[in-house]
Symmetry: C2
Subunit: 139 residues, 2 copies
């Protein structure tokens, strides 16, 4: 099911932060579908939580439903990002902050490991060159 097919209801503009819009429960079904795809084909996917009409109460409900996992990743690059495994392995709650600490984006990523945690081969090559330089300085 593509993301734009999620039957979300546009939150009434009068909805308060503490109120549930009714948009979060369908997301749980979408996440389950994403996990099935991950298991079936290894396909990873993500939901941009800021692109959906969710209230803070919706997000809190969703996070509580997904629970807390064993792994928490912190990425410090031009602002801090937290990538927290939920109690459903393979479902990660990701929040990116700007250098001032404000949340700039929030995602649910369904993957065996979030993409940004993996070292990229081109960066490993650069690191190896640095390491070789260190070693040549030793001798």
């Amino acid at each position: 099911m593509p993301l734009d097919a999620i039957p979300v209801v546009i939150a009434p503009s009068g909805l308060r932060a503490g109120e549930l819009s009714g948009n979060a429960p369908p997301l749980l079904r979408e996440i389950a579908e994403m996990v099935r795809r991950l298991l079936a084909s290894g396909e990873t996917s993500a939901i941009d939580l800021q692109a959906l009409p969710l209230t803070p109460a919706d997000l809190e409900w969703l996070r509580e439903q997904l629970g807390e996992g064993e792994i928490a990743v912190t990425l410090n690059a031009d602002g801090e990002s937290s990538l927290d495994e939920t109690a459903c392995p393979g479902v990660w709650w990701i929040t990116h902050h700007n250098p001032m600490g404000a949340v700039v984006s929030a995602f649910i990523e369904v993957a065996f490991v979030p993409e940004v945690v993996k070292a990229h081969p081109e960066d490993v090559v650069i690191g190896l060159e640095h390491l070789e330089l260190l070693i040549s300085d030793l001798s």
Copy 2:
């Protein structure tokens, strides 16, 4: 080069914690070789730091040489583990603690991502079942 081929010198028993044994620099060469293998074939490998005659000063020197990376992972399962990327991407400094907080093991792992950070498919299946139960409770 297999680990037992590293030309380590057995630290004299009289060596103090703050002294360098001379065993750390050869490890840098071994790590560079491990990184080359990772890039060439995707083969991951690890060095058990407690199995080598290294003083605290050696470990400190090694950690300083490898530098600090952007990613820090915390794993909470029967004691806390920290898996910190070094400034050489693909080289991770891993410390496992027991529930009382004492260090029980320390490794350098060379991998695009440390093995324990990846969700295992069998755990993802269990998480999906939990998610499906949550969903069936909603309707």
